[in-house]
Structure formats: C-alpha cells, structure tokens
C-alpha cells in the first residue's frame, strides 16, 4: 500500500467533516505489526491462516503417502522429518502426531481463526458502516494471542518425543498419560498451552465482533438490513463466546490430571502406568462431554461464516436478491441454538444411556431442517439468475455442493443406530472433510477471491483462479468421496496402515488413487499461493466496486484509510439485496442509495413479472 492514488470520487468526500482521522505517517511497526486497524489485522489473520493451512495440507500429503504406499520407503521424508522417518519409513507415533496436528491446525487455526478472524475483521466494520472495531486494542490482542498460539503449536513439532498424538480430540487417558504414547509428554503440554492461548484469542475477538455489530451500525442499518455475512459472523461469535470457555475449563482439568496427579478424567488406572500415582474416581467420558460441548458448536463456528460469505457471493453474482432473507436469518439462529444440544452425537457408543442417545439423535436430525432450508434458498437464488461465474462464485457453488454431499451423510451419522457401525470409520472422515473441511475451505476461498480487491486493492488473476477452482473441486471429490466406501467396509480412521487386514487389502488401489488426487489438489494450491502473493503487488488495480455489489464496503475507497471512509460514514436506506430490481436503472442499488418507497418486495410491480416467468420456466415452481 505504498502508493496512494485517490479515486476521483473520494476527493470530494474528503472535504466533508473529517474528524480525527488524519494520521501522521505511521511507523512500520505500528502499521504492519502492532496494528490496531481492523483491515490490517484481517490481513494478518489471513496470511497467518494461509501459512498454517499450507503446513496442515503438507502434513496431510505426507500421511496420505503412508496410507497409499505403506510398504514403500520415501527416503526424501527422512530429509524432512529426520528420525521420525528413519530410512524413509514413517514412524507410527509420528503418523498419529501428524494427523493430530493436521486436524488441530485445520479446525482451529485455519478455519476458525483464519476464516472468522479474517472476514469478521474485514467485513464487520466495513459492512455495518463503522470506522473500526469496538475495541481496536482487544482486536490487536486477539491476533497476537492467535499468533503466539500458532508459534507454540509449531514449536511443539520439534520437541524430542514429538507433538501431541492423541488425535485432535485429545481424549484422556491417552492424552493424559505419557506412558501411553510419547506425544502425551511435552508435546501435549504445548498443545494445551497453545489451545489456551487460542481460546483467549477467540474470546477477545468474539466479544469485539458482538459489541461492534450490536452497537456500531451506521444510521439506517437495522438488524434486518444487515448482510447475511454479518448475521453469520455475529452468531459465530456468540457460539464461540458460549462454548470456548467450556473447552478452556475442560483443558485446565486435563492440565491438572497431567501435571498435578488429579483424577478428573482418570479411573482405575494403576500407579505404574500413571506416573506413580494411582488414579481412580474420575471419568474419561466427562472430558468428551466438555470437549464436544465446544466441539459441535465449533463445526458451526467454522461453517456459518462460510455460509454467510456464500450467501453474499451467490446473491451478488446471480444478480438476484438472496431468496428468503428472513428464512436465512431464522435458519442461522436455529442452527446456532440447536448446535448446543446435539454434542452427544459424537458419543453414541461411549456406553451412554440409550435414552440420552435418543435425545441427541432427535436434536441432530432436527438440525438438518434449517440446513436443508439454506440449501434450497441458495438454489432458489440461482434460479432465473444472471450468473457471473467468477472464481468466487464458483467456489460458492462448490461450497453448496459439498454442503449437500457432506450434510446428507450427516443424516447417517446422526442416527444413533447407524452410527454404531460407522463411528470412527473412514465414513466419518469422508463426512467431515466434505461438510466441514471442503465446504468451509471453499467458503474461505470464495471470500478471498471476492474480497481480495478490498483486502489488497488489486485483483487476483482470474484464469489462475478458475483453474485453481476446478482442480481443487474435482480433487476434493476424488479424495473424499471414495472414502465413504472404505468406511462402509469397516476401515477405521487413525490407522497407520491397513495391511494387517485381509479384508482391507482390496482398498490398496483406492488408497493410491486418493493419494494421487490429494497430490494434484495440493499442487493446485500452489497456483493459488502464487496468484495470491503475486497479485498483492503485481495484480491489476481494482476499481472501487468491481463486482457491482450493494454492500457498504464497496462504498469505501480502494485505498485503506484508518477509519475506512474519508468523509462521513454512508447512511443506509435499504436491505443489501436490491439486485435486478424492476424499474431500476442498474442491476444493483447499493445500500446507501436513498429509497424511493420500493422496499417491500412483494408489493411491487415485479410480482406480475415473476408469475409470467414462473410459467415459462417451471423447473422449481
């Protein structure tokens, strides 16, 4: 952002009352490092998230190699991993460490901090019309907690006994007793430290997002005029605020069990195995309750922002209002509330009381209804649209596709009876990678392509973006779809190799196919990385509103100013989805354009037009 070329439009804005937003030249440190500007913090979150994502992906490729070629020696691995891959053979303990850190990185560092952190920070102030977050200082602190947490996690990769290896769900006793697995020594301690810092970051961020959305909306920005992105970020923050403290409590008790000889989660374990102190009286299942009380809302913390982004991108690029705006808000609320009473579906076979299982099953299947409504609304938004198939739009379509595929398998897993044979198999791996992994990553990608001009003032290369999309999309299906069949054959997850099982030998080919697809998908991310970093300085300069979008962020100048708008903050006169409104000159009417009495959509002249077109195209009606 070295050169400031002012867009003609803003020069005259600048003449308006321009309170305290003229800054003296900032130092490098206060501008790029300890920045309190939400746009810079957003970029910090994004780039840290991308780096973590690259590491997480690289890990998945390494263990995919192991799964596909369990008997082969990859000497180059020894170069990377040292004694963890002696003679090119991955160590089984390190395999478990890799999947654990991969899962942790992807779930928390990429799709919670990287996704929510980036887009909540960027879009909340810009889309509600605020100069910055409620507390820029807490916001900065939130990033630095996240940064420290990332560093601690990465550092744990280098400790002698290896990083945490008990799975990203870190169930005790495995995670509590170093004698059970080497990763539960120092590695697990660092994992917990990292997690506690992370929770700090999530809470600081969350409070800020909520306060900002509730208190700092510009004039005219009623809650029912908020873009769906903001609704999604708001509910995400609420979910985080209510559930992360529970994980914090759970983690602290685990710290006690590990370091101070308590037995919150330990029962009937002899002294010899438990660091010299006999442990009894606790319950390993208690930890699972605490973990999943966060864990399930967590998947919506991941998914809701992605869905919010998709709503915005699909509406803009279909040049149509989002279908069923109020139903969309209602389903976000329903999902958020229900997500607190379904955590037990991760624990159907822990031996819980069958009646309790029934209750959790009921809740889980009910959640499918608002999810279905959201899907149908996306489809209806695209129906009769005027689709601009930009990379952002393609990624949004990809998200909907994954959301359907992964959501439907959720109906199997949410059914306690069916879960008996599916729990912890590759069916689950396939399910959550589609509905949470792929869908949310695609939402994030969609957001990056869509708001890149807002983030960096330049455009990403479109062709590279499209190629990136198709390669990633097809690779993701090739990787995760076949895994369902492995799961249905009973292949368990978190297995270092399946070679000891005659029944699973039939999957050798499939495993190799999956790994090759994963490698291609991984290579496609290089295209993205190059495009991302190249365009930052060399990309085409963006115009102010490149996608002809209605929301407020596009009324702010391309260049970044502390305070966002040079002049007065725009006022809002309408909802954000006035696309292709009959009678309007353009196919979009930004929210800050005064309303000429046309806001009630169903009372308007277009209704006749709707009816006429419905007759012509009866696909849905």
């Amino acid at each position: 952002m070295s050169d400031h070329i002012l867009h003609a439009e803003h020069v005259d804005h600048a003449e308006h009352d321009h309170d305290d937003h003229e800054h003296p030249k900032e130092s490098f440190i206060s501008k790029y490092i300890f920045s309190m500007d939400h746009k810079m913090i957003s970029r910090q979150f994004l780039i840290t998230g991308i780096i973590m994502g690259t590491i997480g992906m690289a890990m998945s490729l390494i263990f995919r190699l192991q799964l596909a070629f369990p008997n082969m020696r990859f000497s180059f691995l020894e170069g990377i991993l040292g004694h963890w891959a002696k003679d090119g053979k991955l160590d089984p303990n390190f395999y478990l460490a890799l999947i654990t850190i991969h899962g942790t990185i992807m779930v928390f560092f990429v799709l919670t901090a990287g996704l929510s952190g980036t887009f909540s920070n960027l879009l909340i102030p810009l889309q509600i019309g605020a100069r910055d977050m409620a507390s820029p200082f807490l916001n900065m602190l939130s990033y630095w907690f996240f940064f420290m947490s990332s560093c601690v996690l990465l550092f744990s990769l280098f400790v002698k006994d290896g990083p945490a290896s008990a799975g990203w769900t870190v169930y005790p006793p495995l995670s509590a007793l170093p004698s059970a697995i080497p990763g539960s020594g120092m590695g697990m301690t660092l994992w917990l430290v990292s997690m506690i810092l992370f929770i700090g970051s999530a809470l600081l961020g969350g409070i800020n997002y909520i306060a900002t959305v509730l208190n700092m909306r510009t004039k005219g920005m009623k809650m029912t005029r908020l873009p769906l992105t903001i609704w999604a970020f708001l509910m995400t923050a609420v979910l985080g605020l209510l559930s992360f403290p529970v994980l914090l409590g759970g983690s602290l008790l685990l710290v006690f069990d590990r370091s101070f000889g308590t037995s919150f989660y330990l029962s009937e374990i002899v002294a010899e195995f438990a660091g010299g102190i006999e442990r009894t009286g606790g319950s390993p299942i208690l930890f699972q309750h605490l973990f999943w009380f966060l864990g399930h809302p967590e998947v919506y913390i991941i998914l809701l922002p992605a869905l919010g982004i998709t709503s915005e991108v699909i509406a803009t690029n279909s040049r149509k209002p989002i279908f069923g705006y109020r139903a969309m808000i209602a389903s976000i609320l329903a999902i958020a509330i229900l997500s607190f009473i379904v955590w037990g579906h991760h624990m159907f076979i822990t031996g819980m009381n069958p009646f309790l299982g029934s209750v959790f099953m009921l809740g889980t299947l009910i959640i499918a209804v608002p999810s279905a409504v959201k899907t149908f609304n996306y489809l209806a938004t695209m129906w009769q649209g005027n689709l601009k198939l930009t990379p952002a739009m393609m990624f949004a379509i990809g998200l909907v596709s994954f959301f359907i595929s992964g959501g439907l398998t959720g109906i199997y897993l949410g059914n306690a009876a069916l879960d008996i044979n599916l729990h912890d198999t590759y069916f689950v791996v396939a399910h959550f990678h589609l509905v949470m992994g792929s869908a949310a990553i695609f939402g994030m990608m969609s957001g990056i392509y869509h708001w890149y001009p807002k983030l960096f003032g330049r455009m990403m290369n479109e062709t590279a973006g499209q190629i990136h999309f198709w390669l990633t999309f097809i690779a993701a299906y090739c990787v995760f779809f076949p895994m369902h069949f492995m799961g249905l054959a009973g292949v368990p997850r978190r297995y270092y190799a399946n070679t000891a099982y005659d029944q699973f030998n039939v999957f050798v080919d499939m495993n190799q196919f999956i790994t090759i697809a994963a490698l291609i998908g991984g290579a496609a991310q290089i295209i993205f990385l190059v495009n991302f970093f190249y365009s930052m300085h060399k990309g085409k300069r963006s115009v102010q509103n490149p996608w002809k979008s209605n929301t407020l962020e596009w009324t702010a100048p391309v260049e970044h100013y502390h305070g966002n708008w040079l002049g007065e903050i725009p006022h809002v006169y309408r909802w954000p989805y006035d696309y292709s409104k009959p009678g309007a000159e353009h196919d979009f009417i930004p929210q800050n354009i005064p309303d000429e009495g046309q806001t009630d959509p169903m009372q308007e002249p277009h209704v006749a037009e709707v009816e006429r077109r419905v007759k012509v195209d009866p696909v849905v009606a």
Partner: protein, 476 residues
C-alpha cells in the same frame, strides 16, 4: 463349609502363585510368541512363522533380519537385566516399529521367550544374517537423496511455470482490454459436464465399490438385519435428495449463466414454497427419526438374561477374552491387581471367577446364541468394533460397557457365502489408543454349538487348572 471355602481359596492363590513362576516358562513364552506373531502380522513374510521356526531353520527370508536383531537385542537385555527403555533404544534402528511400543507385560513375555530360545542350540546360527542385512540397507541411501533433489527442482520449476503463465495471461488481457478467456461460458459448460460425468462416476463407484463393503454379504447378526434396513432406507432417501439438489445446482450453473442480454428475476421471497420445503424435509426426517429410534432402542437392549456373558478386555495393544464358564457369571475384578499377577486383574476372592476361562487374542461365539459382551480396559480408551456384526462399543478404563447381540452366521457359512476360504471375522480397535492402534485386532470365530462346546472344553478354567479336571469343579 468354611473350611472348603478356605481350601478353594488357598488353592486358587497357590495356582496363581505357581503361575507367576510358571508364566516365565510357559504361559508367558506362549504370549511372547503370540506378540511376536501379532506384531509381525503386517509383514507378509511372517504371517505364519513363529520365532521358534526362525531360530531353527529359516534364516534367509528378508524380513527375518529384523526379528533376529530383535531377538539378539533382547538377549543382551535379558543378560544385563535392563529395562524397557533400553530395548527401545537398542531397536531404534529397526523398521519394525510396532515393536517399540510394547507394554511392560508384553516386554516381559518377550523376554521370557528370548530366554528359552537362547538356550536353544540353533540360536547361534542367525547372527551372520544380521551383518549381511546391514550392508544391504546402505545401498538404498544414495538413491534417496537424488529423489530429494529431483523433487525440489520439480516444485521450483512448477512454481516458475505458473508465475509465467499468470503474468502472460494478465499481459494479454491488459492489452486486449478484456479477459483472455471467457470463463463465464466456459464455466457453464464445465458445470454441465461436471454434473453429468460426476453422476456417472457416482453410479460407477456404487457398482464397483459397494461389493467391497460389509453390506455386500449381509449382516452376521440378528439385529444387523434391522440395521441394514435402516441403512438402506436412509441411503434411498438421501440418494434422491442428493441427485435432485446436486443436479439442480449445476444445471442452474449451466442454464442461468449471464449472457449480457438477460436481466435476473427479482424474486426475494415466496412463503408458500418456503413453507413446503421446510415441512417436507421435516416430515421425511420424522420418519427417519422414528425408525431410527426403534432400531436404536432394540440394538441397545441388553436385558436378555439368557445371554452368555463374555468379557472383552482391551489393553495396549491386544485383546483378551474371558468366558464366564458354567455359572455364566464373570468373577469380579480389581484394577490394582492388573499387570501384577494376572493380566486382567481378576479378583482372587471371588469364587465366581474360578470357572472363568481367559484366552488372549481370540473370541469364540456360538451361532444363534445371544451373547452379552462386557467390556473393560486396562490403560486407555479402546473401542471394540466388529463390522460384520454391526457391533461397536467403546472400551473405557473404569467404566463398564456392554453390548448384546446374537450371531447368526458361522465362520464356515460366511466363508462359503463369500467364497473366501480364509475369511475370518474380526474385532478391531476403533479408538485411537497409541502407536500400534492399527494392529490391535482379534480373530472372532462363530462356531456351531458342537464346535463351541468342543472349543470350550479344551480350555482350562482359572482354578480347575491345577486342582482337577475342568468339568469337575464344583463351586459354592
């Protein structure tokens, strides 16, 4: 009465004490043999061979060197009397990594095995093999570093090519003032192609891979029939939704692409449509919920008093089974005794345990006879998963869990049905539990009544072992 009680008790204690000493020689040696075999199961050369065989004659198979190194290292350790950590260090070189993660008990049993085998005159013969193998492994190194370099160069080249393509493309579009490629129309065609080819691929995959799943040969248990029904109903309903929604999504992507002339339809709401597409999924899900609840309630009903009780005991990284014997009652247990005298921590004061039978790493069930499995774990959470029976339950230290079911197809019948003469049912560990989690499995055999009785009579109950013939034990 009292005297006989004390007598049985002291006999029981005697037996256990005796078995402590004995264990080093017989029981433990056998267990050691089993561990060795077990840990080698993933090495194709070792499926059938035991250490003893290796020691006696077979010394040229490639994989044997590992075993030999192991045995040699163990031998050193037995001599020096050092501990588990040392063993791990000594064997760091070895490819057979699973061996590094043995529990204390397993190490003990292996030690015992080595000790007896050391006294075997054939023992001296395999040391040269180790030396030979050392030389072989050095040849592979140089190739490895070459691949390394190749990989780095390929990645760098790839990045450079992408850079180049991107900058050329953006030059072109800059010069022409419009995008180099019309992605809008291309993408709409790709959308159509994707959904058509994708659906074909899905159909193909169902054809090709369904037969690899456990649904192909049908359930081997009574409740499994309901399970499979439930599954198929869900598959049918979700399948329909899958085809319709995915189809529409990409069809719209194809059909409604912008052509520069059309304007989109302003269509923000339609309460009627929204009502129906909320109600219909809700009704469908209600059907699934009701059917699911019925299936679940039936599957989790463990109240059958007739059921034969068997305990499944999980520990890093193996399974043991304990049959409850004639009284169909499992003797109680005390975790403090685990790993000291008896691996399973059977309570020596409980007479119900006397007729219990413990077998490591094999489970026999009788066909059409309800069985109640009681699960117990020693160290961390495991999960007993028997996919062919649609059975799974977590095995949690300190928290007893149960699963009852009725096997309906014998191993022999299943072998004929699948036309696989080597097929065996398995019980897998399905909860991450440590380095050899992936190898923690147990063979499950479903016998006919006659076979089962024969099998059980060949086993020795805990106490009858030394006191009298198994069938003659009189309890109480």
């Amino acid at each position: 009465m009292k005297i006989s009680n004390t007598l049985t008790k002291s006999a029981f204690l005697l037996v256990i004490l005796f078995s402590v000493t004995l264990s080093l020689v017989t029981q433990t040696v056998n267990a050691g043999n089993k561990h060795l075999k077990f840990n080698y199961a993933d090495c194709p050369d070792h499926k059938t061979k035991l250490a003893g065989l290796t020691l006696n004659n077979d010394k040229n198979a490639a994989g044997d060197r590992i075993k030999n190194t192991w045995i040699k290292n163990f031998q050193t350790i037995v001599k020096n009397g050092s501990n588990k950590l040392k063993i791990i260090d000594l064997n760091k070189e070895n490819t057979s990594t699973t061996f590094q993660y043995l529990s204390v008990v397993q190490v003990k049993s292996l030690k015992a095995l080595i000790k007896t085998e050391s006294e075997n005159p054939a023992f001296a013969t395999f040391i040269p093999v180790i030396i030979l193998q050392k030389v072989m492994s050095e040849a592979e190194e140089s190739l490895g570093s070459k691949i390394n370099w190749l990989l780095i160069i390929v990645v760098i080249l790839l990045i450079m090519v992408i850079f180049l393509v991107i900058s050329i493309l953006s030059r072109i579009s800059d010069i022409q003032g419009k995008p180099a490629i019309n992605w809008n129309s291309l993408n709409s065609k790709f959308s159509l192609a994707f959904i058509l080819l994708g659906m074909l691929a899905v159909v193909w995959e169902f054809g090709a891979h369904s037969k690899l799943t456990v649904f192909n040969e049908g359930p081997a248990s009574e409740h499994g029939i309901n399970y499979d029904n439930m599954f198929m109903i869900t598959l049918g309903l979700t399948g329909i939704v899958f085809i319709i929604t995915q189809g529409l999504l990409f069809w719209y992507g194809y059909k409604y692409k912008s052509d520069g002339k059309r304007k989109a339809l302003y269509y923000p709401d339609n309460h009627k449509v929204e009502f129906w597409w909320t109600i219909i999924p809700a009704v469908v899900l209600t059907v699934l919920v009701i059917k699911g609840l019925l299936t679940w309630t039936q599957m989790t009903n463990h109240s059958n008093k007739e059921a034969r009780r068997i305990e499944i005991f999980g520990y890093q990284f193996n399974w043991a089974t304990r049959y409850s014997g004639a009284d169909n009652k499992l003797g109680s247990h005390d975790f403090r005794q685990v790993g000291k005298i008896n691996n399973l921590g059977i309570d020596t004061n409980d007479s119900k345990a006397y007729d219990d039978v413990i077998v490591v790493n094999e489970l026999h069930l009788e066909v059409n006879k309800p069985v109640l499995l009681a699960f117990r774990a020693k160290d961390v959470i495991h999960s007993a998963y028997m996919p062919h029976f649609r059975v799974q339950m977590n095995v949690v230290p300190g928290l007893p869990t149960y699963f009852s079911f009725t096997p309906t197809v014998t191993t022999a019948q299943m072998r004929t049905k699948m036309d696989k003469p080597n097929f065996d049912y398995i019980l897998l560990c399905n909860k991450i539990c440590g380095a050899a989690h992936y190898n923690m499995k147990m063979k499950v055999v479903v016998d006919t009544k006659a076979e089962y009785e024969k099998y059980m009579s060949a086993q020795t109950p805990l106490v009858a072992n030394k006191v009298s013939k198994p069938k003659a034990v009189v309890l109480k």
